[in-house]
Assembly symmetry: D2
Homo-oligomer: 192 residues x 4
């Protein structure tokens, strides 16, 4: 029975590396994984999953209008898929997370989703909210705060490194925009 | 460093039993745990945590207005607390979940929260939403669907056992109102 | 696909309570679980699993000569089993753990095993060794050291509470014989 | 409080990639991790941790005589260590695993150990045995069997791909020597 996994973490934990390693494991055994990532994330070029550690692979793109069930079904009918891997899954919509449960339940294809848990205001992204609600397995990928404790929150900083407490949920950026911190230092940075 | 745990499950998985066992473990070592439960849940009498398997213990009550940080701090100052255990934590508000992070971060008291993940419409309760967002550890307590697979969703049924797809989020009830099922049988029961 | 779980912990973590709750969950859905425990453990009467919190249930017994595959197969043929629950699984032999993998792999019956990880000398029991080797899922049931940290080791004490560093691996006893402690206090108690 | 983690898996699951990503996470925050690997493993050159996916880093070497506590303490005194990462940890001796618990308990440095669980005969390696006994956290890194299920066992094959049921525990090799499989196909391959 296929299952849906949500691998969640703060930023810079190595989600994309873990995704690419899983994909490698499937291919190494002659299997056919399909990789998707958010069209919104053009940090490293469109249609690519890249990890800061130096790995990358081609990826299908999804945006808010994509019907991921249909897209995956089409790929599966062209060539049997053994697994789908979704990077930046926090950018999925509620409907797309539901479509992914159908990929798992109806097409019996495992879905491994990798993404952030909360935004810089500590609120769930829509995709994360419904993955946390419906996924079979919730697995935390760990990274560390500057204090050495586990980091599970994300601060958005301005160009002076000062934490920002308002603004749009999404402003794609690498290290210079976001910092992963523990809950204590998150509160401290936002003066809570 | 104290941590916040969210022990989540569908209904009838033994959350209260697990809570009572943890409390027992602390007391057995001469430590002082405090138990809280939702005032809304009067199935087994007010101010009590009871498990269907036959265990029960006195519990402090919280409702939407309770400041759980103040309530716990007061108890802690009267007699050092080694842990707080929250049953029916899905009924916490966003603000109360935040107050609990302060109990953990500022008073360094571990908080073990036990509750449902999603309601009969597959939506997160407010308490579950913010525990899934901010807790240090997410631990699933397993129970089974009638088909033998893991149950991670909840159906609300009418007196004829037919699944209901509308109504208030909360209608406190035991086996006769709610059934825990796997995702596939959840969809089937709601004709999805 | 059935799986083999090893729920391990130090002493007094509530393993038997957790086992009895799982059994209750299966029965509540009209399913048929079978409970086994070690004949060697006569603390609460033979053929019974009891938890210090006050719960108990009848149990089939196994000793070193029992062929658990045959015993389970016989029960299964008499009335379909949905799950087997093994208490005190540290007392299983290597061969019996292998037989349990056959119950899972050949009879497709889930096996939930509950037991200690290491003895008072920090060495694995034979049953624990092969469950740690072959089980599909390793799940820790937590309990606490007198210092508040997680307890993952066990000290055997004499009647004066002084830790003992030699003697037979097995001397069945309750609180008065054994104390669960964290690794640091384990080393301290044994003067390491 | 530092903890000891044992990241275990069958072969070709990406243990080295995960280790290198953890190391990268620490360095990215200006911290100083130390990497160790077994001198016995010269597949990719001595003193190097390499992952099949194309990543590598310098590593300190340990062999059966190395006192890892002294080696780490020396590094720590030269420049504060924030974490030690041990690859091929199955090749540690019992004494070396104990020394690592002292690194965690006495020097308060987290130890992340990555390695195999069982050998081609289904028996624990010495290092794995004592990590499974004493580690604070046991985390499984997943890979897949040719049948699509999770692989948790390892077959050693001859040049014709036929499973071998005897021979030394250690014969360092890549894909051509070892294949990770699920328990069912492990038994099948060895004619059990």
């Amino acid at each position: 029975m296929a299952q849906m996994y949500f691998y969640y973490s703060a930023m810079n934990a190595g989600k994309s590396t873990t995704l690419l390693q899983s994909s490698f494991n499937y291919q190494e055994r002659g299997m056919n994984p399909a990789i998707f990532t958010a069209a919104i994330d053009d940090r490293y070029g469109v249609g690519k999953v890249s990890s800061r550690i130096g790995l990358h692979a081609e990826a299908h793109l999804f945006n808010k209008e994509t019907n991921v069930f249909d897209a995956i079904k089409e790929l599966h009918e062209a060539e049997k898929l053994h697994c789908v891997l979704i990077d930046e899954c926090q950018f999925l919509t509620k409907e797309q997370v539901y479509q992914l449960t159908e990929v798992v339940d109806k097409l019996n294809i495992p879905a491994l989703c990798y993404g952030l848990r909360t935004d810089f205001l500590g609120e769930l992204f829509e995709g994360s909210k419904y993955l946390l609600s419906w996924a079979d397995k919730l697995v935390e990928l760990k990274t560390i705060c500057h204090c050495g404790r586990k980091a599970n929150m994300v601060i958005r900083t301005d160009e002076h490194g000062v934490a920002i407490a308002d603004g749009d949920q999404v402003a794609i950026g690498g290290n210079e925009l976001y910092v992963s911190v523990c809950r204590r230092h998150y509160k401290e940075a936002l003066g809570k």
